[in-house]
Amino acid sequence: MNNNIIELKGVSKRFGNYQALTEASISIKNGEFITLLGPSGCGKTTLLRLISGFEKPDTGRIFIDGRDVTDLPPEKRHLNMVFQSYALFPHMTVYENVAFGLRCKKTAETEIQKRVLDVLRMVKLDQLAERKPNQLSGGQQQRVAIARAVVNEPIVLLLDEPLSALDYNLRKNMQIELKQLQRRLGITFIFVTHDQEEALSMSDRVAVMNEGYIEQLGTPKDVYEEPTNLYVAEFIGETNIFNTEILEIRDNKLMVEVEGKRFAFNNKKDLAEKQQIHVVIRPEDITVWGENEITHEESKNMLPGDVEQVIYKGSTVELIVRLPSGKKIAAAEFFNEDDEKLDYHITEKVWIDWVPGWEVILPHEETI
């Protein structure tokens, strides 16, 4: 037996004329915190609903703990879901809401009481057990929704954009709480979000989705630093993209011209000569040099430009640099003690470069 708690094999789902999910295959390990990330309409919620059983796939099979559950209804699957709107029953108290699942399973009332109070204590709501949901704040309702799901001891907890209704600070706190809860319970969390920062900071692995496809599945570091295609590179974080072609390959180094200068890049993806490529560089990987910080010799491997915009952000300064071709480059410079000056002014002439090897080379894709 493998230790995959959930396995999807070639699962597709269509609603009328709309292809919501195409041939999705994914294996989720026991105890993993996995995030389905993508814009609205990318199929992430459909994928979650297929796992929970609220939708039936058109093709493909779904396995939970090695068992084929494709044809099982939601109430027969040992998973629980936290809904985007929480869906707390408004006519029941917090206690009754949390006890609902156990009562459906005809658990003894004494055991229900013990388990409900335990889980309410865990989410720090034991004092509010007799309140109705609409007497609670958004963050408290969120905790009740989580308590109501985990009290059933599911093997997997599904969370459908559970933090999207909360304000920024509360969301940050709940992210940390959720992560701690997951470690404490040791169960698998499948978390849906459109917030890439949330996805990167919480997950063990992230599935980046787009138009019904899983574009990339990997650790946050993988999808950020080694995006497999242009979509992932652009969706996660800010990027600078140069479209160019491989002039020749020498010693397995790609000879490429970027904005009029020759560069030699590592060939990690077995690309061929004359192939069209994208060179992707993150703003924080770009270094910006003032005119008098570098020698003429050094500037030969750098791109010239003018500062067009300076955005001061406390710990960083974000610059927009316009290259001679008119292309605009985003760069983020971090403050540190031994660093040179960081007070750029608009129209200042600068030179930019980056540490060789930090760029990502992707084969050409038609962009819209």
Partner: protein, 285 residues
């Protein structure tokens, strides 16, 4: 500009007040006043104040009619609820394009006078009517059913006339019921039965009460349905009032009955209103 808008405000508000005075306040005052006057067969009323009209209502014959009317209105409301609830549920849960058609089918009978529709029911229920003809032809029964001119016929007529008043508020309530509640219940392991009785019914109580009030009140006072479908033998509150006005020519007694019925209904509505208010207050604290 400001002056104009304030004069418009005065105009529109005074129109509403005028309307309410002419068509609600004055008739109520007239009714109340008449109920305290002495009946007179020549000039409708004599201007002698009395409470004898109200005392007369304690006559056991009238109390029997009141109980009978309450019984009919309650049965009618319950039957409407049992038929209307699944009906409203199906409409609210059907696909969008079917929804409008189904709602239209519920509303279309409204376009015809309910008196005419009651005659249609007569045509169906009478001894040689459509129902008996079909059942006899199909060999299901051998003697025609005697439904017309019975309490059953009155009930059928009332339910048929008032069913839309039950369906529409229920539909509005079920329609806006968040689908996620039902999914959450299933997710927590609830079967169809538990989901329906523990989640759907409690969350649609406002619709159930609104529909019941809308059916109960007219069912209490419908007078032509008992006359046409029940024959003259089943006298109900509505017939009693009609009888006092048109046949016995005793307007003060007729208005006294109307006032008592209005108060009775008013008490029902106030109880419901206070109850729902309490729920709101509770949820705010």
């Amino acid at each position: 500009m400001k002056k104009q808008s304030s004069s418009f405000k005065i105009f529109s508000l005074s129109t509403v007040w005028l309307w309410l005075c002419v068509f609600a306040l004055i008739p109520i005052i007239l009714t109340l006043t008449t109920s305290f006057l002495t009946p007179d067969s020549n000039s409708i009323v004599k201007l002698i104040p009395t409470i004898s009209n109200y005392l007369e209502l304690f006559n056991p014959g009238y109390l029997r009619i009141l109980l009978q009317s309450l019984y009919l209105a309650t049965s009618c409301t319950l039957v409407c609820l049992f038929i209307g609830y699944p009906f409203a549920f199906i409409i609210a849960r059907s696909q969008h394009q079917h929804k409008s058609l189904l709602l239209l089918l519920v509303i279309i009978p409204f376009w015809t006078s309910s008196l005419i529709r009651t005659y249609a029911i007569m045509a169906i229920l009478k001894a040689k009517g459509i129902l008996n003809t079909v059942l006899l032809a199909a060999g299901i029964i051998h003697d025609p059913l005697q439904i017309l001119y019975s309490n059953t016929a009155i009930l059928i007529g009332c339910v048929y006339d008032l069913l839309p008043f039950m369906i529409l508020p229920l539909y509005a309530n079920i329609e806006k019921l968040n689908q996620e509640y039902l999914e959450a219940a299933r997710d927590l392991g609830a079967n169809w039965f538990t989901t329906f009785f523990k989640i759907v019914i409690p969350l649609t109580i406002p619709g159930i009460i609104a529909g019941s009030v809308l059916v109960f009140l007219p069912a209490m006072t419908m007078f032509y349905v008992p006359v046409l479908l029940g024959g003259a033998k089943n006298l109900l509150i509505g017939n009693l009032i009609e009888h006092q006005f048109l046949t016995a020519n005793n307007w003060p007694l007729g208005t006294a009955i109307s006032v008592v019925i209005t108060l009775l209904m008013g008490i029902f509505i106030i109880i419901y209103w206070r109850h729902s208010k309490e729920d709101d207050r509770e949820s705010l604290t």
